[in-house]
Symmetry: C2
Subunit: 381 residues, 2 copies
């Protein structure tokens, strides 16, 4: 069997395919929305981890970005980005790398939510003779870290940071919005996220502290917000690719999903109702984010190689390098001979993308659907 | 807060730590067992994906190995391995890379379970003027692919392969043994895996076909088997590291786990009973393999930096770069200040290791516990 003549079929499977037309459309949609709201957008590059995607998110200019690792901060700094927020609570062991970036002239901001971390930052800033811009994380929904806005140590943390000129502002993340299955619920989460962040900033200001940045965001709340008065910037990451979890929440449609994994049929088990592919959890990740939603999409929805969904066909099982496709609710399996290439739309783009070294890029809006480029990802920490 | 003086604490967290003393002990245990059984061991490198671990598995000699991707086959061939089994059903598009390895003199065997694949192999072998050694996959437990031993196309597939001299033998994998929670059940699975593989080989021989290789294996069945008469080789992969799933099955003890992920405490939420770390699913994977076992270990068990378990402390939640630790059944949380380094023992070593570029290596049996080396992993396909 010769390699398919299909222009997408170049690399051996499995591989990650990124449709740049959809990436651009998703980026334009949120940029228009935050533009209408009059608030800056600081894209979170934790999903794409790609310089090329970052450039699309800012119209080719190296604008403000958010990252999830110092490895990303370093790679994006090397790529020309000067305004970077590292949005994971700081481990004090990592301050030497933070200072190294600051000394290069990068405006790197960090995050924290304790007096212990604030003291470590103050002391490191004093020793280095330069401020280390820090945001205080504020908890708006009990999802993860952050100070509840009424926490007695919040103002004290701000004071400690201010001693070295390191207090930059506050940050909130409505992580629970990923579990709000309606626009109304997401909008309520967005405005609560705003209210909590603005209240924390006000509390610090009422105590004589200067607060420049009021940062909020998540992909659902960034899209749902209608009024961000008092907020200075919005963060979102997943929106550049979207995924089945976001489609399940109604934040996007399935046809907006820019990332898919190309796999090949390698076997059939009609006795089990299975089609086997060469894309297992190593290619898709173990993420089963839709399992908690109204419609469980298994490990992903199946489309043909051109991206058209195959009705009723799901990836229902995964071992390391094997995927199992089967019909939803006993749907009849289509005839997909060995060697057929398919795409799997992922539950969670951040997790699926992380299984790959980069993206093979197509442009479904262009003249030809051929793979145009390979965009590498930043990896590690 | 200065970097810890602890010798394990070198790299920024999270990172993968591999205890070579435990790797050696795990390897010696299975080698002794297969030696007693009088059967060859063909380690599956899909777990470690490391030349250094492969060398330990064979006492420094490049012996027979199993791989899960052609990228592994190519990397191990470059590292001196000459006898490699690629144990995922072949996608015919990949035959050019298989032939390229065969032309280098590598004894690369492939796997298949259909007349379609057998015809593709026969035709490619005829065009290349050389056999492409192929094993026929036999299903012993309905876990994944393979012919049931009574499938009418099994002998036909053997005949098609034999036309180009490509029939090498049969292979079975008792994947369901990962769900057999007792030694008796694992032993039964091992002997059934053997019986099915041997019966398939006999059926092919009864039809005048030559069968050299009868390959069986999984980590549980490789350890549980007491009689492998008729089998020529055993495959196992996970055993070099082991993990909480294997400990839950009783195949190993928790103290045998060679791989852990070092993380740092970055916050506390006493109101939620949480300790937050900088190791999320990006470091651990989304694998929740113990969720189906009698004892659900969450995302992993927590130990101190020296590897001593902290009773009752589990990793119970994960976002991309945040881990949540909490007490099992309301256990009181230990005092673990910000900056404390801990290790997390993973559910599934294959999946957790895959999140990292390589292993920082220690030897708990040596004179010093310092990190001695960094061993890179093979990645991609």
């Amino acid at each position: 069997m010769p390699p398919s003549a299909d222009p997408f079929a170049g690399p051996d499977t499995p591989f990650a395919l990124l449709d740049v037309a959809k990436v651009k459309r998703n980026i334009a949609r949120l940029a228009a929305h935050t533009g209408e709201l009059g608030v800056a957008l600081r894209p979170h590059l934790k999903t794409a981890k790609s310089l090329e995607v970052a450039a699309l998110a800012h119209g080719g200019e190296p604008g403000p970005i958010t990252v999830s690792t110092l490895a990303e901060a370093e790679a994006f700094a090397d790529g020309g980005y000067r305004d970077i927020l590292y949005a994971v609570g700081i481990d004090p062991h990592k301050l030497p790398r933070v200072l190294a970036l600051l000394r290069r002239g990068i405006k790197l901001s960090i995050l924290l939510d304790s007096t212990t971390q604030a003291c470590a930052v103050r002391d490191a800033a004093a020793a280095a003779g330069m401020p280390i811009p820090a945001l205080i994380e504020i908890d708006c929904d009990g999802h993860r870290g952050g100070f509840p806005v009424d926490h007695p140590a919040l103002v004290e943390t701000g004071r400690i940071l201010a001693e070295s000129g390191s207090l930059a502002g506050v940050l909130a993340h409505a992580g629970e919005s990923y579990f709000a299955p309606s626009l109304a619920g997401q909008r309520e989460a967005a405005h609560h996220e705003r209210d909590v962040a603005v209240a924390a900033a006000q509390l610090l200001r009422d105590n004589g502290l200067e607060v420049t940045t009021v940062s909020v965001g998540s992909t659902p709340t960034a899209h749902a917000a209608t009024d961000l008065t008092g907020v200075t910037e919005v963060r979102a990451g997943n929106y550049v690719f979207f995924d089945l979890v976001m489609a399940g929440l109604g934040v996007c449609a399935v046809e907006d999903l820019a990332l898919s994994i190309v796999v090949t049929v390698i076997g059939h088990r009609p006795d089990h109702g299975w089609i086997l592919t060469d894309g297992g959890w190593m290619a898709m990740s173990r993420d089963r984010g839709t399992a908690q939603q109204a419609v469980d999409q298994g490990y992903g929805l199946v489309t043909d190689l051109a991206g058209t969904p195959i009705p009723g066909l799901l990836m229902t099982g995964a071992s390391q390098e094997h995927g199992i496709l089967s019909g939803r609710d006993g749907a009849v399996l289509p005839d997909l001979p060995i060697g057929t290439r398919l795409r799997i739309l992922p539950n969670h783009a951040c997790a699926t993308a992380a299984q790959h070294r980069g993206y093979h890029v197509i442009d479904s809006g262009g003249a030809t659907p051929a793979i145009q480029a390979f965009w590498e990802r930043v990896s590690g920490w």
